[in-house]
């Protein structure tokens, strides 16, 4: 089982977290087309490589956080997000 580093609780068993899937932008509900909305609801990139994901520390601190995971190697790294300093990874547990 993957160890996923919660920014607050540290490395957690993936099973103790809730996986909320690929990170995606929510379209403006007032102006979006059905295609845009359903892409947001159902369609995922599912790349072979780095993927920005949403995780929820549901059995721990209840923080929602994003992490980048390499779908081929299982490697994890902290994403560079707006308003956050690029820097050390959130923890390389290997």
């Amino acid at each position: 089982m993957l160890l996923v580093p919660c920014p607050h609780c540290g490395p957690m068993n993936a099973g103790d977290l809730t996986y909320n899937g690929e990170s995606h932008r929510r379209p403006d509900p007032k102006t979006c087309t059905p295609k845009e909305w359903r892409t947001y609801l159902y369609l995922r990139e599912n790349p072979s490589g780095w993927l920005l994901e949403n995780w929820y520390c549901s059995s721990g601190c209840r923080k929602h956080f994003k992490i980048e995971r390499h779908t081929l190697t299982g490697e994890l790294r902290a994403p560079v997000l707006p308003g956050r300093k690029p820097g050390a990874t959130q923890g390389d547990m290997k």
């Binding site: 607050h8 909305w37 290997k94």
Partner: protein, 949 residues
């Protein structure tokens, strides 16, 4: 005659403790420490089972966990490994896969027609015609191997454990013990896992010095605080060293699954001796050199009287010494290193009698011992991503290089004397401990709430171990004849050659086609021989063929261990003891144990409608919301408007998921300027809490809202019925219950039965005048008791969930998840006035808007069967009259005690939703009845006069 050898041979058995057991009904004796197989051999019983396809007699081959043909039935437990399971007093052991008896087996005729049972026989023969499959299945099932399952066997006790050791060592031979000891001495917490019953590995059947060294190392491990798990198997290694361990020796449970998160994993699984492929290699009396030595030195059992030894290595030489020490005469030593060989063994049905050598000579014997080389069980390394590489000079596979947090030691990586193996193990243990320290530092540093780490991260120790040498070994896989490759699946080298001839050129494919390596030993004995046969058949090298992918589990785990103990946690309200004492029939609703009724739900309904009833509704999800931005949050999550809810107001709201499907519903009250109390459905409490957190944290982190779940902190009691105002009035002084001061859909806070900080709101799921009170749970028993005491003359009685469900159905209130499902978008509910499309945003709004625009959705309607005595089953289909076209279904149905007739809610297509429409309902019995769509959802008091009074 007894085949038991005198002491000191037999270091695993205790001759002072005799054990009685039966074998196919016959009374036999063994000793404490015997395996079932060693005890049987000591009694001269050398046929332990019959092979899967050909029903050939089979005996002990390896005398350890992997022994392929010694599975037996023990009491009501099938498929027990006789060469591993320790004998216990009173065991009733019997052979399985035999009929009518072990010695005379009718199915052995399969052996005569063996050529029809070659690889792919089942695939090819039973393909067509498909309609005959049931017949084929019926006949083949009788020929399937395995013991008898007793369906009346009581539930066994299994368990799980979670562990966080620094180092897990898989394998308790000299290198594994040395690694565990060194890691423990370096300060690591260590689990040492050995799948046999005692630590020692090959030292246990080695020289006297070896046996002493094994005992000393095991004692040192114990003294150093190593947690020793014997008769346990490291079954799998997953991401980030998540290790599954099947523990078979934990007291009180049959098997325990340990899930360990190790910082470093040391794999010291040793090597497994390969059988040799030649004609007659499965005769009882043919065994590996390790098997013979284990029987003699560990169990004090004489495996034969006159032996031929075919050896290509030191293990064969050592076996010769062991045989001599047991007084077995050595008829011939055939040495592969000087070009000698054997071509076949023959015998009676039950035992080897003669061996033919490569030079044509024949030697009589009743025991043939082979020592032809080793398989490296790299399974755990494979699971860590390692792809082993074949070394032709050493005639075995070696790991290519596992990841940094997995270290291999011992026979898996090379050969050496006992002291060299121990030295390599020690170096590995020290390295494992050093790396574990760094991993621990990283985990602690990455955990904000952990104790801050001291200083800099230590250097990650480099691997500076002196590698073990690889002993040269001749490649000895198959003679000039064909023999069995997979003993448990009855696959011969001939099968593999013919499959290769048919074009199966990949080892992964040939494995699946022939089932070689797919039996209970999971390829431990068979994989490399399979690869070697394919290489030979295709005239390739073993390195070119490569090996199969070894996946978890390393050894089979029982399903019971995977399931663990039966443990379904339930929740109860603080009033549960009162419910139980007062005759409540319990019902499990989600996780909650609730009173379904107290004897007569219909009477409870009538009493509530006539007098007053109280119900414990604590499971109702309750979320305390505080902060200036709560109205924004409510507007986002509910479909209706919330910006202008006054203090003291209560409002109903419907929630949708982003796909427009109804997610939950409930009422929310504004208690104060920035303080709200939200209720959710009982089953939705946790889900909605997560839902709120997600919106607040991801889409609107700037909003100031605090969410606190208070579901069990407040005990909720609904007081319903015409006398409810009078009853509550007797218990409170500071809440003005006058209908003008406290109208419907309002909330007040005050003191109830002397308990401060209670919340009361006027809402009505039952359709009666009712007050729902939320009481701090510590005082709930008192308040409940006061309601019953003070209301005795008002006719107050408790009512259960069933009465509430009847009353809500009489009022036509839908239940999320009962009357809606995963396809029910909000307009299905018919609550269109609450779907405010003029708001800027709410969860699911676009889908709801498009659904309303298209008009293409079913709707919930109330309907009544024309024959009021018939209650259609919930989920009964509604059909277009006279056809089988489904146009809807009954979602809720009950007999109404108030109306004295059956009533329903249903989902139907719009065509059938108009009041007065006749519906045709198909009952489970097959009968069709008619029902009529009602004007209102409420069957009773549609104007709500009682509620608002």
């Amino acid at each position: 005659m007894s085949y038991r050898l005198p002491a000191p041979l037999g270091n695993a058995i205790d001759r002072s403790s005799a054990i009685s057991f039966t074998w196919n009904g016959k009374k036999l004796k063994g000793f404490e420490g015997d395996t079932i197989a060693s005890a049987l051999l000591a009694n001269g019983e050398h046929i332990l089972g019959r092979s899967m396809k050909y029903h050939r007699p089979r005996g002990v081959l390896t005398a350890d966990f992997w022994d392929p043909n010694t599975t037996v039935q023990v009491d009501d437990e099938p498929n027990v490994r006789a060469s591993h399971r320790k004998l216990a007093d009173g065991m009733a052991v019997s052979a399985q896969n035999v009929w009518p008896s072990l010695k005379f087996d009718v199915k052995a005729a399969n052996g005569l027609v063996g050529r029809f049972l070659t690889a792919g026989f089942y695939y090819k023969t039973f393909m067509k015609p498909a309609k005959l499959w049931p017949t084929y299945e019926h006949v083949l099932a009788k020929f399937a191997p395995g013991g008898a399952v007793d369906l009346n066997t009581p539930h066994g006790r299994y368990d799980k454990r979670y562990a966080h050791p620094d180092v897990v060592v898989a394998g308790g031979g000299p290198s594994g013990m040395a690694a565990a000891l060194a890691a423990a001495e370096a300060g690591s917490s260590v689990m040492l896992v050995e799948h046999e019953h005692q630590l020692g590995g090959h030292l246990l059947w080695g020289s006297d010095d070896d046996q002493v060294a094994a005992t000393e190392l095991a004692a040192s491990c114990e003294a150093a605080g190593v947690e020793i798990l014997s008769n346990s198997t490291v079954a799998g290694r997953y991401e980030d060293n998540w290790i599954s361990i099947s523990q078979r020796n934990h007291p009180g449970v049959i098997e325990r699954l340990i899930k360990a998160r190790a910082k470093t994993l040391v794999v010291a699984a040793g090597t497994i001796e390969r059988p040799y492929v030649f004609q007659g290699n499965d005769l009882p009396g043919v065994m590996t050199s390790g098997g013979a030595q284990r029987l003699i030195r560990m169990y004090g059992v004489k495996p034969g009287t006159r032996a031929v030894v075919f050896t290509a290595n030191e293990s064969g030489d050592s076996a010769v010494e062991a045989l001599q020490s047991a007084g077995i005469s050595i008829a011939r030593v055939v040495d592969a290193r000087s070009g000698e060989g054997i071509t076949s063994a023959s015998g009676s049905k039950s035992r080897v009698k003669r061996v033919t050598l490569s030079d044509g000579a024949t030697v009589d014997c009743d025991l043939l011992v082979t020592a032809v080389g080793w398989t490296t069980p790299t399974s755990l390394l494979n699971m860590a991503g390692d792809r082993p590489v074949y070394d032709a000079d050493a005639a075995r596979f070696f790991p290519a290089g596992p990841p940094d947090n997995v270290l291999a030691t011992g026979g898996m990586v090379g050969d050496g004397s006992r002291n060299e193996l121990i030295a390599h193990g020690r170096a590995t243990g020290e390295l494992a401990a050093g790396r574990a320290v760094v991993v621990r530092h990283r985990i602690q540093a990455a955990t904000a709430r952990a104790t801050p780490v001291d200083g800099q991260e230590p250097d990650y120790p480099a691997d500076e171990r002196t590698p073990l040498d690889r002993a040269r070994h001749p490649e000895v896989y198959r003679s000039t004849t064909h023999g069995i490759v997979d003993y448990s699946e009855d696959v011969s080298s001939k099968d593999l050659f013919s499959a290769a001839g048919e074009g199966f050129d990949s080892v992964e494919l040939i494995k699946r086609f022939t089932t070689a390596t797919m039996g209970p030993s999971q390829g431990k004995l068979e994989t490399v021989n399979t690869v070697a046969m394919l290489a030979e058949a295709r005239n390739e090298t073993i390195a070119e063929v490569g090996t199969t992918m070894w996946r978890p589990p390393y050894a089979p785990i029982s399903l019971g261990a995977l399931a663990g103990r039966i443990n379904e946690p339930t929740r109860v309200s603080v009033l549960q003891s009162w419910h139980e004492a007062n005759g409540a029939t319990p019902i499990l609703a989600g996780q909650w144990v609730r009173p379904e009724h107290y004897g007569d739900p219909a009477a409870e309904v009538l009493n509530t409608r006539t007098n007053v009833g109280i119900i414990d509704v604590t499971p109702l999800g309750k979320l305390d919301l505080q902060g200036p931005d709560v109205p924004k949050l409510l507007s986002l999550l509910y479909t209706n408007k919330w910006m202008a809810l006054p203090i003291g107001g209560v409002r109903y709201g419907l929630m949708c998921a982003e796909d427009g499907v109804v997610l939950d519903d409930g009422v929310t009250a504004r208690l104060d300027e920035e303080h709200y109390l939200m209720t959710t459905t009982s089953s939705g409490a946790a889900k909605i809490w997560h839902w709120i957190e997600m919106w607040l944290q991801t889409e609107h982190p700037d909003w100031q809202v605090h969410v606190t779940p208070v579901t069990t902190g407040l005990t909720s009691i609904n007081i319903a019925g015409p006398n409810s105002r009078e009853l509550l009035g007797r218990l409170t002084d500071d809440i003005d219950l006058d209908p003008d001061a406290f109208p419907y859909m309002n909330v007040r806070r005050g003191t109830i039965a002397g308990v401060e900080n209670c919340i009361a709101w006027r809402i009505g799921f039952t359709g009666e005048l009712s007050y729902e009170i939320h009481v701090p749970s510590g005082h709930a028993v008192h308040v409940w008791g006061q309601l019953l005491e003070q209301g005795a003359d008002l006719g107050v009685k408790a009512f259960g969930l069933e009465a509430q469900r009847i009353m809500r159905l009489e009022k036509g209130h839908f239940i999320v998840g009962q009357d809606t499902d995963g396809l029910s978008k909000a307009p299905v509910t018919g609550l269109n006035p609450l779907l405010k499309l003029d708001k800027d945003d709410w969860a699911g709004m676009p889908e709801v808007a498009w659904t309303i625009e298209s008009g293409d959705h079913p709707v919930i309607v109330a309907c009544q069967p024309d024959n009021g005595s018939v209650v259609p089953e919930e989920a009964a289909q509604i059909l277009r009259a006279g056809t089988t076209e489904i146009v809807g279904r009954i979602t809720s149905s009950r007999m109404s005690p108030t109306l004295n007739r059956s009533i329903c809610l249903a989902q139907v297509t719009k065509e059938f939703a108009t009041p007065g429409t006749s519906l045709e309902v198909l009952l489970v019995s097959g009968e069709r009845i008619t029902a009529t769509v009602q004007e209102h959802h409420a069957h009773f008091d549609p104007e709500g006069a009682r509620l608002r009074g």
